[in-house]
Symmetry: C2
Subunit: 217 residues, 2 copies
Amino acid sequence: MPYKVNISVLVADDHPLLLKGLYDELSANGYTMVGMAKDGMEALELIIKHQPTIAFLDIDMPYLTGLEVIRTAKDKGIATHFIILSFLKDETYISQAKALQISGYLLKEDTAETIYKCIEKVMAGETFFSPSFNSESLQQVSLEFLKLKKLTPSELTILKLISKEKSNAAIAESLYISIRTVEKHRSNIIAKLELENNPNSLTIWAIQNKSLIKDIT
Amino acid sequence: MPYKVNISVLVADDHPLLLKGLYDELSANGYTMVGMAKDGMEALELIIKHQPTIAFLDIDMPYLTGLEVIRTAKDKGIATHFIILSFLKDETYISQAKALQISGYLLKEDTAETIYKCIEKVMAGETFFSPSFNSESLQQVSLEFLKLKKLTPSELTILKLISKEKSNAAIAESLYISIRTVEKHRSNIIAKLELENNPNSLTIWAIQNKSLIKDIT
DNA sequence: TGCAAAATAAGTAGGGCTACCCATTATCTA
DNA sequence: TAGATAATGGGTAGCCCTACTTATTTTGCA
């Protein structure tokens, strides 16, 4: 474990207060701060210039998302350890982050102690995910996710249209298929998602899970 | 305009870094800080105890949401000016906030300068909404709100049940009235909300605006 | 190439939501 | 107290969604 002062850190977040809070916290604790960035573009520039040991990145930033910054930096062979700092407990982001082989994923609700623990683990070559991630709700999301993956491409197409409040008639028209076919797909979707036998259960589910559906391929 | 030191401020947020950042920022700028709370329960206790001039509250906190804290505090006749500080540019939250007659609504992407401007306005008796909200969407929300206010008590009761995914039959049963009455109310609600003539438009609207409906009285 | 899965679609039936009509009773307020 | 508003509910009709069944064609993969 190197001295803290030999660990250079960059923080990037488009929320000024949080950015300042994190910067001051780490700075006061002896880490060498190489900069703070208020958007993805700034973050990428500073990372290329300083090649910090560790970079904390928000996901949702102007110009470039944190994930895009990581992808670009890694493409350039930069060896920085990346830690995502997001306020979203979003399953799809997690899987993307894992795909990019990032070092850690923290939530903004995590305490400073958790952040230090994360840095320790990362410097030891391990990965660290926020302890909040073992919650039931996330497993629930994963469950819904698994069910969604059972859908065939056509079913998915139709589900997306349902989530956009299209009626069967409208869906049939836009896909150049019969209403009966749409109805059949709906039935199959309902079965695969294991929805209750209530009126409009599929419509309701689709609208409630709109953001989940949007990102499925 | 009173001296800053005579303005007592409380901050509440379940994101430790942001909480610390905001506290330090305001503190360093001469405001009298009466405390920081990491959840809604703590926030409410401190507000009741200290009755600060201004309270900054996050919406999404453990135990009690910021909006619930405000509702409870106002019920107790506490004269604190409430400013919401949220990550979310969610229109329904805005509506709820307006329903509670809060003093300001800031986003976490706002700068410290914006926060000070907000405090100024609030101390001058005005309200302040984050510049990130375009006036269009604010007006849109106000419009929806006005429409909702046209509903009679019975219509509102039924709308709340619709937003909980109850069918007409279930609503009729729970209110001990005829399904036909429920249907009649639905028709009237649709007319008052000026919904499009699409299948299930009311069900969809109710679910999408669930959080808005919840707080109307 | 041939089989399995997926996509297509129709028949029949039933239940839910909505519109437009109507009427009665209750409640509140000027 | 009278008139307006709200709440109650029936008739009829239409469209939409869903279930269960059956069947044909298309597609993808082994």
